[in-house]
């Protein structure tokens, strides 16, 4: 036997040992060799989505639809939040949890609603804010509220630090994650100045009857322990044509949340930016967010 042949067969043999015998069916191989989402052709995306659908069906018993819709040309998503209207009722948090199949236990939430006393230190320094306020009724007199979620930065610090390129910015401005490419190192969480990225510290659980079956590969499909996730502007809703508003926009009882195409001068967000006093959170960090806070 030649030296080269020996090494070849030894490598194949060892490789085979790495995969447990009881699970070494074809799907295991497919999962192991699943490509990076950005390198898949649209055919491959479809195949992978089909396979994931089957996996999730086996795992949760719910028929889940996994879409891989691409971004639309001529669209840059933008978000507006009217701080003079928000009353801190937390409806957005749970609309998001429900829509995006976020783990109920351990609890994962994309949106954080912060409460400030009027005149408190604010914006550049959130240390005086309260996240765990518990009033009978809101708004509490003399206080104001600021929800924070992923700001979908045009210059995202989280993307720069990812060692596996599992997160990137899509052409429509959404910072997406290929969960299967995430190794859970949480560098992105350390890099994000908004605390927008959340980690699944344990196996995420969603009761099967509470599952939202309309999912997107880059959005609300079921996640696993050790995956980082975050707001995707409800990519499974907004990428469709016509695209629904994100869940947080639709639930807001005071209409403080605005969503639309920044490249369309008639969209609600563009109108807000044009006519209202607008600021972006921690703008001085040069993150260039697509999330605009404004006062009407």
């Amino acid at each position: 036997m030649r030296r080269r042949d020996f090494i070849k067969s030894a490598a194949i043999g060892l490789g085979g040992l790495l995969i447990p015998a009881d699970k070494s069916d074809a799907s295991m191989w497919e999962r192991f060799f699943q490509k990076y989402f950005r390198e898949m052709t649209s055919e491959e995306k479809k195949t992978v989505a089909k396979k994931l659908e089957k996996d999730y069906q086996d795992k949760t018993g719910v028929a889940i639809n996994v879409r891989t819709t691409d971004s639309q040309p001529g669209v840059k998503f933008g978000y507006g939040l009217d701080l003079s209207r928000c009353i801190g009722c937390r409806r957005c948090i749970y609309a998001c949890v429900t829509e995006n199949n976020l783990s109920r236990k351990p609890q994962v939430q994309y949106i954080t609603v912060l409460e400030f006393k009027n005149g408190e230190k604010w914006v550049s320094d959130l240390e005086e804010s309260r996240k765990y306020y518990n009033h009978e009724l809101v708004p509490e007199p003399g206080h104001f509220y600021m929800p924070v979620q992923c700001q979908q930065c045009a210059n995202p610090p989280c993307v720069k630090v990812c060692p596996t390129k599992a997160t990137w910015r899509e052409p429509d401005g959404i910072v997406a994650i290929d969960y299967d490419w995430c190794i859970g190192c949480r560098y992105c969480m350390a890099a994000c100045p908004y605390g927008a990225r959340k980690f699944n510290w344990a196996e995420p659980t969603v009761p099967p009857d509470q599952f939202n079956p309309n999912t997107h590969y880059l959005g609300n499909r079921p996640k696993a322990k050790g995956h980082v996730e975050k707001c995707t502007f409800c990519i499974q809703r907004t990428r469709e044509n016509p695209g629904k508003y994100p869940a947080c926009v639709e639930i807001c009882p005071v209409g403080a949340r605005k969503f639309g195409n920044l490249l369309d001068p008639e969209s609600e967000v563009s109108r807000c930016i044009e006519t209202k006093r607008v600021f972006r959170l921690k703008e001085e960090l040069n993150t260039n967010p697509s999330f605009f806070y404004f006062f009407s």
Binding site: Y94, R104, K105, Y132, N134, V254, R271
Partner: protein, 205 residues
């Protein structure tokens, strides 16, 4: 003469074929629908009672509408409601408008808000960001008789970092016809939260 005739024919063609075509193209613009005004059940049409009642313009306590607390500037019922046609509202100029065009009424005084509402800055829209939208009417959020937004009950406090496993279950609540799932915490956790909250409050007073 011939040229004139030709020009007239061309003009006629433009008017009868091209212009309606342009108008048809406008229907491609996303449809705008509004929600329905939130009437108390069985209260509308108003004329079913008021048709047989003579209008009384005196300011008084309304025996049949005790739930109406009028806290809206110095207005009185018939400033907005029409005494002759009870199922309509009337603008300051006397024009009658139906209840689901109430924004025209509100816009008479709140012009800046009306302008913002039309562009989508004020108020709420649901539907599709690049398609058909439903605009909420002023009266869907503001009670027209006392328009200040009323405080509401907030949904549960999020779990603290060390307590994310102490969620007992998630239960459905229905808000605006949408089912949301909110957490129920273990009892001990609730108490701890309350304590923490009190501490939080006292440290900030």
């Amino acid at each position: 003469m011939k040229e004139k005739l030709f020009a007239t024919v061309i003009l006629a063609v433009i008017m009868f074929y091209v212009l309606p075509g342009l108008a048809a193209a406008e229907t491609d613009i996303p449809k705008l629908t509004t929600t329905k005004p939130p009437f108390t059940e069985g209260i509308f049409p108003c004329s079913s009672c008021h048709a047989s009642m003579p209008p009384n313009k005196e300011k008084r306590v309304l025996a049949f509408h005790p739930d109406i607390q009028l806290k809206h500037g110095g207005n009185w019922c018939l400033d907005c409601h029409d005494s002759a046609n009870r199922d309509m509202l009337h603008l300051a100029n006397g024009d009658l408008i139906p209840f689901d065009k109430v924004y025209q009424m509100c816009g008479q005084c709140h012009g800046n808000i009306y302008r913002d509402w039309k562009t989508g800055i004020h108020g709420k829209r649901t539907g599709y960001w690049n398609g058909d939208k439903t605009y909420y009417l002023c009266v869907n959020c503001h009670n027209p008789h006392s328009p200040k937004f009323k405080p509401i009950k907030p949904l549960p406090v999020p779990a603290k970092p060390l307590e994310i496993m102490k969620v007992k279950s998630t239960v459905p609540v229905v808000i605006e016809e949408k089912k949301l799932y909110i957490p129920e915490y273990d009892k001990a956790n609730d108490k701890a939260n309350e304590k923490a909250n009190e501490k939080d409050k006292s440290s900030h007073k």
